[in-house]
Amino acid sequence: MNENIIQVPDKSGISKIMREIAGDLLRQQTISLVIGWEKGILPNKSAPAFITQSQDAEKLIFDEYCYHNLTKYLLQRKGSGLKTAIFVKGCDSRSLVGLIQDNQIAREDICIIGISCPGLMEERNIVIPAKKCEICYTSVPVEYDFLIDCPETKTANDEPGGSYAHRELPRVENMTLDQRNIYWQKMFENCIRCYACRNTCPVCSCKECCFDQANPTWLGKGNSTSDNGFYHLVRAMHVAGRCVGCGECERVCPMNLPVMLLNNKLSLSIEELFDEPPASLSLDVTATLNHFKPDDPEEFM
């Protein structure tokens, strides 16, 4: 049908097509950078790759360890007018839409090469699907210029609400208030505030984060259970209605904290309260907290 959709026989064929497209784009010289993945230091490690020369396109790969949501790297080119091509999985594509909606990148500056994602694997245990795939809403990118279509594509949860199925969510919701408190106290206590979750989050696109500011001092440099709680709750509110569920925050956490759970809870609440679809599925929706309905639920009389 569409000439920009390239069918591959199975997932092992994806890398080859990626190299071809990237090489072509760079040769045409309208695009000066391609962001994709390359092989890392270990067999179960892949890493972001930045390709500027067509001959380097051979480095590109796609395998079950290409977790990285690359879209936030586009902010480094913000406002330059330079054209960038970027590879996205289904989950990544939503954050790309989010970045466009947040006025951070211009659609016309980006060439989106989508990969309909055959699923990722847990890095430490190569037979278990990656955690982020459990809350997958769409493995096929929602926005693309080229699509590498892989028949092994599967979406874990394509029914409504499925993307809120963080494995911890029902368990924590069913806890008593005190149990939940202990659960989160522990999370906040163990957090080392390395800010990996924030820095990797594609909807945390602020120029200067409020947690880094000295005036006002929302949060000091010191680490305490209370301050860590402040950080996680506020971050959850800041991404409320915009979190695309790419799961990067939880993947990058060096302390293995269930960071994504708070966001997942809020996404679920948004669907229940305001009957709004998951964030950034298309370019023409408004973020939850940027509008209201006069007949929103009233609980505060």
């Binding site: 409020c210 010191g222 305490s224 209370s226 301050d227 709680g229 809870k265 309260l273 309905k293």
Partner: protein, 161 residues
């Protein structure tokens, strides 16, 4: 009271403990309602503190968490009734934001009785009295808030003594 570190908060035993309540009041409705409560000499607990904001839409959820961190036992965010906002739409955004915020707070184990959002108009002096009194009464049996509270020592990890 002011010059004492908060860690010295009186404990739950004894009748006289009243929870510390912080109210964020919009200046056009709730703050006026609180003033009206004063004009009508309506009595309410002395442990209520009001911070005046122009509109409930100015009340950043970050202020609320900060209040709990700093040792308040309950927080009330109050503004004009939806539709009556002096700034037309401010409180509709407040409502949306705090519908989420209340769920988030409960999800992390904060007792929902400690955190309320309420619409109190400038003519509802008695309602102001009633809401802060109810809030105080509801929190009293729960004791001082420890959740999210910034308790010293702030050391995490490390050799513990």
């Amino acid at each position: 009271m002011t010059n004492q570190p908060l860690a010295d908060n009186p404990n739950t035993s004894g009748q006289e403990w009243d929870p510390k309540i912080l109210v964020f009041a919009c200046q056009y409705c709730t703050y006026a309602g609180a003033d009206l409560a004063g004009l009508s000499r309506l009595q309410y607990p002395t442990t209520t503190r009001v911070i005046r904001v122009p509109c409930s839409g100015r009340t950043n959820p970050q202020f609320v968490i900060r209040a709990f961190q700093k040792g308040f036992d309950g927080v009330l965010v109050a503004g004009c009734h939806p539709g009556d906002c002096h700034f037309a739409t401010g409180n509709y955004f407040t409502r949306r934001r705090y519908l989420l915020m209340t769920r988030l707070m409960e999800f992390v184990g904060m007792d929902p009785r400690r955190f309320r959002v309420c619409w109190i108009s400038g003519s509802e002096g008695p309602k102001f009295q009633q809401v802060v009194t109810e809030l105080t009464d509801a929190i009293r049996p729960l004791g001082p808030n420890q959740k999210l509270r910034d308790i010293e020592p702030s050391v995490i990890g490390g050799i513990s003594r």
